[in-house]
């Protein structure tokens, strides 16, 4: 089969008028620079303020490293409670030490008091300091009455990097406004060797991946593992001391959490905890929390589940519960970061692969393998439905209590519809795994306009199920643009030529097409936002089953002009 394009007609056409003929660039004026400076001064100012505050805190925390070690004996240790709503618990410790022959008593565990929202964390800290324990304390030589048992960890010093990022951005922005070259001159063209778009997306993607991956690895997965193992912890009688719905207010509104303080004993020793589940946290929806709290009035006898290897670790409800789905948010962060990094890495310099080998045949790989499609839609469906299910469970709870939240119910309808669509898409891609697989070979591997090309295909699998089989070469424009916070890509096919179109299983199984592209087609062009791409598309119709649908990217080079 040959392509009817060997002698393509070249129509004469008028040249497009350019929009910027002989126009002047607009430099950023003094007022513009002042505006930019004010904007970045805010960054710089906030950065410096927080650098000073954190620096001051760190200097204070690390000053104990200059203090002298001495032997100390713990006199008493218990969990203290302050009036702070969010982190009321702390380790209250009293110890005695000797300095230059004089005996002193201190109640400072560290220079900065560590407070906890959960009782058992404070209790765990206290458990490590039982009365009578002898250990090292650090004495201020200038004021021997002052001593601490613990010094700040050095990694805490990394916190200073956070405000320093703001300082660098602020100072860099101000410098760029006054001394930067391109920005100051307002030119249409970037500096030589630079492109209008830089590597910022890759850096952003890397930050998302690191933050998401870090939270996932250091918090979500360990907590999930402990939550699952909590179902096997020792069932232990406990008594509720106090219970309430705790509110957390900030600029985003008010959220609520369950706060039940209970007492239990292990091996004759009394412990307290306010941990309901291991995946704790606050969320909107007061009623569900109030319902939980109403089941645990003060004085109520119940059971809790104690970690047999650590009696201070305990929960009232074992297992991860639905709240753990919120933990999938870092997974989404990481996924989004990886996608951005992959996309950034895929975006090569504007060019058309000139210099690629133009000899020999090459087997093409599909743009996305069937397994990758399944995996991709599985991840998206899991994330979407995971989040949606949290709210759906609230809706179901409302109905089961006879107090349906109609606003939330109606609000959730489109989200649930999208979730169902994703599940349907997942099933569709699973079914598509049983479709025949197409292998495409191309010679030469890089298409040159006007030069002969051979494309051959082999179809493996249940070919007999195909009713019609199509292969065609396609050239298309892809334009990516930003609207608000989202990116959109429009595609427009400008070239499409069939290589195969058959209903005969024999012709489907194996075949080849020879031909040549017209000499004046646009070669492959890849820039950050605008692309001209070429691909071989394979389509197969299967009755009552997902169609065969694959795409193989090819490169068209500048040619022999």
């Amino acid at each position: 089969m040959g392509w009817p394009f060997e002698s393509a007609v070249i129509r004469s056409h008028a040249l497009m008028e350019f929009s910027f003929g002989n126009q002047s660039g607009r430099p950023a004026g003094v007022f513009g620079k002042i505006g930019i400076t004010v904007f970045f001064l805010l960054f710089l100012g906030m950065g410096l303020l927080f650098t000073w505050l954190i620096g001051h805190f760190l200097i204070q925390s690390f000053s104990a490293y200059q203090w002298k070690p001495a032997s100390a004996t713990i006199v008493s240790s218990s969990v203290g409670e302050s009036k702070s709503s969010d982190s009321p618990y702390f380790a209250e410790v009293k110890f005695r030490y000797e300095w230059l022959g004089e005996s002193h008593v201190s109640d400072q565990l560290s220079l900065t008091r560590q407070t906890y929202s959960s009782y058992d964390k404070a209790q765990s800290s206290v458990a490590a300091l039982p009365p009578g324990l002898v250990r090292t304390c650090y004495v201020n030589p200038e004021d021997p009455g002052e001593a601490v048992l613990e010094r700040a960890d050095f990694w805490v010093g990394l916190f200073i990097l956070l405000p320093l990022v703001f300082v660098v951005v602020g100072a860099g922005g101000i410098y760029g406004a006054w001394f930067g070259k391109d920005k100051a001159s307002g030119t249409l063209s970037p500096q030589a060797g630079k492109r209008a778009k830089g590597g910022a997306p890759w850096v952003l993607g890397a930050i998302f991946t690191l933050v998401g991956g870090g939270i996932l690895a250091f918090w979500f997965l360990p907590t999930l593992a402990r939550s699952i193992s909590s179902t096997t912890w020792d069932e232990t009688p406990c008594m509720v001391i106090s219970s309430r719905v705790k509110s957390h207010s900030d600029s985003d509104g008010t959220t609520y959490s369950v706060d039940i303080l209970y007492q239990y004993s292990v091996d004759g020793k009394e412990y307290k905890s306010n941990r309901y589940r291991l995946f704790s946290g606050s969320s909107s929806g007061y009623d569900t929390k109030a319902e939980v709290v109403s089941q645990y009035p003060p004085g109520q006898r119940s059971v809790c589940y104690v970690n047999p290897t650590n009696p201070t670790e305990v929960v009232l409800k074992p297992g991860p519960g639905w709240s753990f789905l919120f933990g999938l948010i870092p997974l989404a962060f990481m996924g989004a970061g990886i996608m951005v990094m992959i996309q950034s890495a895929k975006a090569p310099r504007a060019g058309n692969s000139a210099g690629l080998s133009a000899n020999g045949s090459q087997t093409l790989k599909p743009a996305a393998s069937p397994h990758m499609k399944v995996f991709g839609i599985f991840l998206v469906a899991l994330f979407w439905n995971g989040i949606v299910s949290v709210f759906v469970s609230e809706v179901v709870h409302g109905f089961s209590r006879g107090r349906p939240d109609w606003f939330l119910t109606l609000f959730m309808v489109p989200f649930v519809a999208v979730g169902l669509g994703l599940v349907a898409g997942f099933v569709y891609q699973i079914l598509a795994l049983w479709n025949p697989r197409c292998e495409i070979q191309i010679n030469p591997p890089v298409l040159v306009p006007g030069q002969p090309v051979e494309v051959s295909w082999t179809l493996r699998g249940s070919v007999h199920r195909l009713q019609r089989f199509l292969i065609y070469l396609e050239g298309r424009e892809e334009a990516t643009y930003r609207r608000g916070t989202s990116n959109y890509t429009d595609k427009e096919t400008f070239f499409r030529v069939p290589l195969a179109d058959t209903e005969s299983p024999l012709e489907m199984t194996q075949g080849e097409a020879k031909g040549a592209l017209p000499v004046d087609v646009m070669p492959t062009f890849i820039a950050s936002n605008n692309k001209v791409v070429w691909a071989i598309k394979v389509r197969g119709e299967i009755q009552r089953w997902p169609d065969l649908n694959e795409e193989f990217s090819v490169t068209v080079t500048g040619g022999t002009q």
Partner: protein
Amino acid sequence: MNAEIRPERTTYQPGETIEGVVTWSTQKPPRRAELRLFWHTKGKGDRDSETVQQQVFDMPQQQDSRAFVLQAPDFPPSFSGRLISLMWGLELVLEPGDSQAIDLLIATGGKELDLQREEWLQIADTEKKKMFWKR
């Protein structure tokens, strides 16, 4: 600022020499003066641009006139599609101050590549529908 870019012509074949003269008149002598040969996109997508060659003029004066010689690159050619158009240009950049640009056309045969040709779309759009709404 008064500035002018005067190439010998505005249409070139890839590989051809682009020659001409730039003149400018500014209130103060520019700190730096350069002529850039660049492409940029226009259309639905966000703008992309790249400077592929530049000629820096030494010791620019307040009123000056300089000759330039650049070479039209092989790629990308000027083209126009439904979504994207690519244009070449020359831009005189005077720092601090202003810039001035003119359009060029660089393509084989001196004609912008036209992506919108009916004969290049052999499978009609109805094909898509047929593929989707199966018999």
